[in-house]
Amino acid sequence: MSAWLAERRDLAAQSNALLPVPTLSDEHWRFTSLRGIDFDAFRAVEAPAPGEIAGAILAAGDHAGRVVVRDGGAVVDELSEAAAAQGVAFGSLRRLAEERPELVEPLLGTIVGYDEKFAAENGALWTDGVLLHVPAGVKVAEPFHVAYEIATEGAAQQWRALIVVEEGAEATLVEEHLSGLPGYANGVAEVQVGVAGHLTYVVVQDRCDAALHFAAHRAEIAKDGLLDWAACSTGARTGKTRMETRLTGEGATGRLSGVYVVDDKRHLDLDTTQEHDAPNAVSDLAFKGVLLDEARSVWRGVIRVAEGAQGTDSYQENRNLLLSSKARADSIPGLEIDTNDVRCTHGATAGPVDPMLRFYLMSRGVPAAEAERVIVEGFLEEALERIPDERIRVALTEHVMRRIPS
């Protein structure tokens, strides 16, 4: 291992040793209990043999590159010749940290630091993941694909991603967390969109019923850059996913779309930020959730507008559809505004299926159960339709609708 990487791991390890596991009395963990989880019971496992990618949404179709990380390491590590010819670096982060340190060293650990327990643990222990580096002016039409899977029961998967789209470059990355086997996943994704760069970033979390899923994604968008970020969560027992967006340059845009369908006794916790540090930037967040059975969702979102970020335009909404009397949704939207020339709006709702809508559909001959599906699909579509790539949009819609009982 390179000296710089060892040093960084050491720094993270020191921080990790000092930070306690969060409890319900920590503001950000008020609704997500980690009691009874024995984190030491999970163990790091080297990459098992490659196999079929089960349940991947992008398993079929063209792609510009693919990495599959199974347990602790990459078992698939491919980059298309066309993308390679354009100067794109894509592949296993463990491999590229050694081969292309000039792309990794300056950024790794600078966007997501080590001041939070799970991020610190990941900084010390990550084993593999992905690097995507798209050089200035390069535009790649086909999506890049990374999939993470726990293939050994009880494995701890510490994955890490570094995604850089330089000035004027364009790319799409689809990140999937496959169903796999029960285990503990903890990841960090650091994203940088350069001046007038454009990244479409789709994250699908479909871990199995008994899995724990923790992740910290954080993106920085430079002047006139555009991040189109869609997150879809249908899996895992419990955990927490952070999705943070910082607009660092004037005129930057963050479009953040979320869809979640939570069933059984699952507990989903999403933490989002829209941090406006530059003038005239736009952020637009729309998260829509459907809750079934005894599921529970927690969404906490904050818009922060720094002093000097004049002309900010920021929107934030979280809408929840409760399909069961035992399901529960907590929404905690927040605004922290430090300047005056802003337009910030947020909205949060939770409620059952509108009986009038159902009644209307049934009066048209649609059976009750089907009517509910139609309403749910229409509800989720408002967020899903924001995904620009049609193939991904269609695949995701099918994926989430499979969770709704018919």
Binding site: E27, E307, G308, Q310, N320, L322, S324, S325, K326, A327, R328, A329, D330, S331, I332, P333, G334, L335, E336, I337, D338, T339, N340, D341, V342, R343, C344, T345, H346, G347, A348, T349, A350, G351, P352
Partner: protein, 468 residues
């Protein structure tokens, strides 16, 4: 009064920052210990159970840590506060008996003579004791009780004890515990079944002595099918060191009853205003809080309604104005316990000259509260780049078939609106004041006329010189 003329007032000095000479009969030493609590209780001639209640509350107060969320309370020194002060003047029954110095104070608060006649009854708290009450005979004939809380304990002990601390127990929070230990004064209102008091009941509160903590305790019981509108307004003179105001207001609205509680708080800019207000609404009852926060250094106040009975309705209208050096951390809490309950929270805040206003709300829908509906709307206006606003609306839902909505917006004064008004001959300051008055209009229109006028006047004064 309602015109947009802006009087020439020096904002460097608190407008109502006058004070009278202090002349207290009883004043406990600074700081708090068991002995002081015994002194307070003995002086008031309270029954033993109340002394025990105070002492228990004091233990709870000591055991609870300071809240770590919300506003910065590190400037409070509990040892540097007088916890009890009884003014020289005895309780007066009619306006004529009220001592001249105290009359002057009310005079300067700008309560016109004509308006006093309009008042159904007046309980004014001057320092820690209620100085006078005038209750219209007709109210007394209807069996309405409107008196200061100390008196109520002595004269109506059974009724008092039945409801006392049932809505806000001492262990609710650190400041409720403090109030429970050292409370003094406040209003006690009982409205018998079916009695509807059409005119608002009003009380004015003032802090006069330096470092004088004000710990009034209000208890309102609205019996079945009854109605009352209680209005409480505060203004306080400016002093150099910090004062603490920590009141507790408990309200019980029984089946089919309705209560509206209106406060316009304008403490001087050195007061910590930490108040616990909560109401329980039973079946078909309605509870409305109208809460205005203009003054104080720091306010933390979240009026609450527990919708305990079916079809109960709760409403909170909140307005906050944070100027230089002020932090208004205000909001509201609604808990839906019973099915088919409804609630609305409307919050408007204005931040100016580096002030910070925060909306902090909690909307909770418990498991059995099916078919409940709630709507929360928060709008914030930021006048200049130095100011700050935050919105923290917590929403916890654990019931089926509920409909919950929350919307919030933050914006600045519209340049086009100002430009339009200026093109009609208004100065920039006048235009701003007018826009702000329009912004808070949903709240002012709910106030009694004289309060609406006073609120608009205060906002005008605050807005002066803010733009250009």
């Amino acid at each position: 009064m309602g015109s947009i003329e802006t009087p020439d007032v020096d904002l460097g000095e608190y407008k109502w920052g006058f004070r009278d000479e202090e002349n207290p009969v009883i004043k406990t030493a600074k700081g708090l210990d068991e002995e002081i609590i015994r002194q307070i209780s003995a002086h008031k001639g309270e029954p033993q159970w109340m002394l025990d209640f105070r002492l228990e509350s004091y233990e709870i107060f000591k055991s609870k840590p300071m809240p770590e969320w919300g506003a910065d309370l590190s400037g409070i020194d509990f040892d540097d506060i007088f916890y009890y002060l009884k003014p020289a003047e005895a309780n007066a029954r009619s306006w004529d008996d009220v001592p001249e110095t105290i009359k002057n104070t009310f005079e300067r608060l700008g309560i016109p003579e004509a308006e006093r006649k309009f008042l159904a009854g007046v309980g004014a708290q001057y320092e820690s004791e209620v100085i006078y009450h005038s209750l219209k005979t007709e109210l007394e004939d209807q069996g309405v009780l409107f008196l200061d809380t100390d008196q109520a304990l002595l004269e109506h002990e059974d009724l008092f004890r039945e409801y006392w601390a049932t809505v806000i127990p001492p262990a609710d929070n650190k400041f409720a515990a403090l109030n429970s230990a050292v409370w003094s004064g406040g209003s006690f209102i009982y409205v018998p079944p079916g009695v509807r008091i059409e005119q608002p009941l009003q009380a004015y509160f003032r802090i006069n002595a330096q470092n004088m903590g004000q710990f009034e305790r209000t208890l309102i019981i609205v019996d079945e099918g009854a109605y009352v509108h209680y209005v409480e307004g505060c203004t306080a003179p400016t002093y150099s060191s910090d004062s603490l105001h920590s009141a507790v207001v408990e309200i019980l609205v029984k089946k089919g009853g309705r209560c509206r509680y209106t406060t316009i708080q304008n403490w001087s800019s050195n007061v910590y205003n930490l108040v616990t207000k909560r109401a329980v609404a039973e079946e078909d009852a309605t509870m409305e809080w109208v809460d205005g926060n203009l003054g104080s250094k720091i306010t933390m106040k979240y009026p609450a309604v527990i919708l305990k009975g079916e079809r109960a309705h709760g409403e909170i209208l909140s307005i906050a104005f944070a100027g230089e050096g002020q932090h208004q951390d205000a909001g509201g809490k609604i808990t839906h316990v019973a099915p088919n309950t409804t609630s609305v929270i409307t919050s408007k805040s204005i931040s100016k000259d580096g002030g910070r206003s925060s909306y902090r709300g909690l909307l909770r829908v418990n498991k059995d509260a099916e078919h409940s509906k709630s709507k929360v709307v928060c709008d914030a206006l930021i006048i200049d780049p130095e100011s700050r606003t935050d919105t923290y609306p917590y929403i916890n839902i654990s019931a089926d078939q509920v409909d919950i909505g929350h919307e919030a917006t933050v914006s600045k004064l519209g340049e086009e609106q100002i430009y339009y008004l200026m093109s009609r001959g208004l100065s920039e300051a006048e235009a701003s004041a007018l826009i702000v008055a329009g912004f808070i209009e949903p709240i002012t229109k709910e106030l009694p006329l004289e309060y609406a006028v006073e609120l608009n006047r205060l906002i005008q004064l605050q807005m002066e010189g803010s733009v250009g």
